[in-house]
Point group: C2
Chain length 259, copies 2
């Protein structure tokens, strides 16, 4: 098996309302590259959020009493704390400088995945500008996938990834926050090893592994390569509606020993 991960060239700075598929197809064309059935497109969360105009200007945010208290406790701007709380189901851990939450989308992340780097809007003070995650990244991924099917007649899978910190280990890795057109969690339950022994490790977070590899290709300090085309992976179609999207990757809180 051979996997190739290619950064799509010439994606410009994305603005609210931009058609990401237009930008991606133009970028691929400029490289004399194409899309084929079975390719996986991995998009950085940031450009999806920008296209969907998920900006918040902290100057417009009125922090609640609770956000002010929590902001004082963890030494964060209470307006930013308010935005984090608005995007979260609950605070999982807190300490000065750190606020780790369960995002309303179900995954655990510092600051609810709210981003303040590589963003700019005219007239907004740099430190006041925040970018939230897409409203529904699975739906965003599905729309992008459908647009490609409609315009090009090509069946690709789409992953939206983000760089997220982890328990136990240092550094961020790319993780899938939105998935369409593939099984995000490959399940080998009932399978057997080469000696006929039942498999113990039975679930592989395939979309996260793709998201991680693509993250490396995107690089981290610039926005110059926010789209990666993965070729050579054979996406498996979800076997049922409830296995679609990123949800199979999210460990339910009741099953999580680390929350």
């Amino acid at each position: 098996m051979q996997l190739s991960l290619v950064a799509v060239d010439k994606i410009p700075m994305v603005e609210p309302g931009d058609d990401l598929i237009d930008l991606i197809l133009a970028g691929l064309e400029s490289m004399e590259e194409d899309l084929r059935d079975g390719d996986v497109l991995v998009l950085a969360q940031k450009i999806v959020s920008k296209a969907e105009n998920r900006y918040v200007n902290l100057a417009d945010v009125e922090p609640s009493e609770a956000a002010m208290r929590l902001g004082e406790e963890v030494d964060k701007d209470p307006r930013k704390v308010q935005v984090i709380l608005d995007e979260s189901n609950e605070v999982v851990r807190k300490r000065p400088g750190v606020l780790i939450v369960e995002h309303r989308l179900g995954f655990v992340a510092a600051n609810a995945g709210i981003d303040q780097s590589n963003i700019y809007q005219a007239g907004v003070e740099g430190d006041d500008l925040c970018l939230l995650l897409p409203v529904d990244p699975d739906a965003s991924a599905q729309r992008l996938r459908q647009t490609i099917a409609d315009r090009c007649g090509i069946d690709v899978a789409v992953i939206i990834n983000d760089s997220i910190g982890r328990a136990w280990r240092m550094g961020t890795v790319g993780l899938a926050i939105g998935v369409a057109g593939m099984t995000s969690l490959e399940d080998y339950v009932g399978g057997h090893d080469i000696y006929g022994r039942e498999l113990i490790v039975t679930q592989v977070a395939a979309a996260d592994e793709l998201a991680a590899g693509a993250s490396l290709v995107m690089g981290q300090t610039t926005e110059k390569a926010p789209v990666v085309r993965v070729r050579g992976y054979a996406p498996k179609a979800p076997e049922s509606a409830d296995l679609q999207g990123v949800k199979p990757l999210l460990r339910p809180k009741a099953m999580d020993m680390f929350r």
Copy 2:
């Protein structure tokens, strides 16, 4: 940037004492592929452990009182519990069927990474055979890297990966458990984004992202592709001796809110 991940063909079942570099070079040759300066070789932990004869026969293990009590508590074979404890610094979480530990190498993993699938030794009852992680995976990676330098005059980085479960998310991902010849954690502290704003997310677990992508190429149910050659990533040399190996990826317990 373009990354290619190629599974090395024709790696046979590895036996204790096998020369892995011989097997890898022969496999690459059979594919008419080569190694070049800057390539990263990712090896599955399992073949390194096999070559290093890290087998344990549970029939030879005498469980302690503590292992017997813990085995009863979590419903596991007390002999296997003994082997897990011998490989661990401490138990991090336990519940029936699950024993999550800090491995003596410093990372957190279920069952101390001890493997019972895809292994076989003549005369050993299937359920009694266990395979431990390498004694010192960083040293193993460095030996493999040095062997390639000596025999071929080529400067590659080496990662030993394993499929490991996570807090908060379902499924395993490939993670680096041994690293040589590259910085495992890329540090952008002091760097700036395209608008000159100081970077907040400053450390990227590059070796884990490579390990994850390679894991996808290896597949999970067989041992047929336990080696992946990654080309197109530019490994960064560790800036100092204490930044070598996998250690920069391990969050010290005192800094970990999830232990």
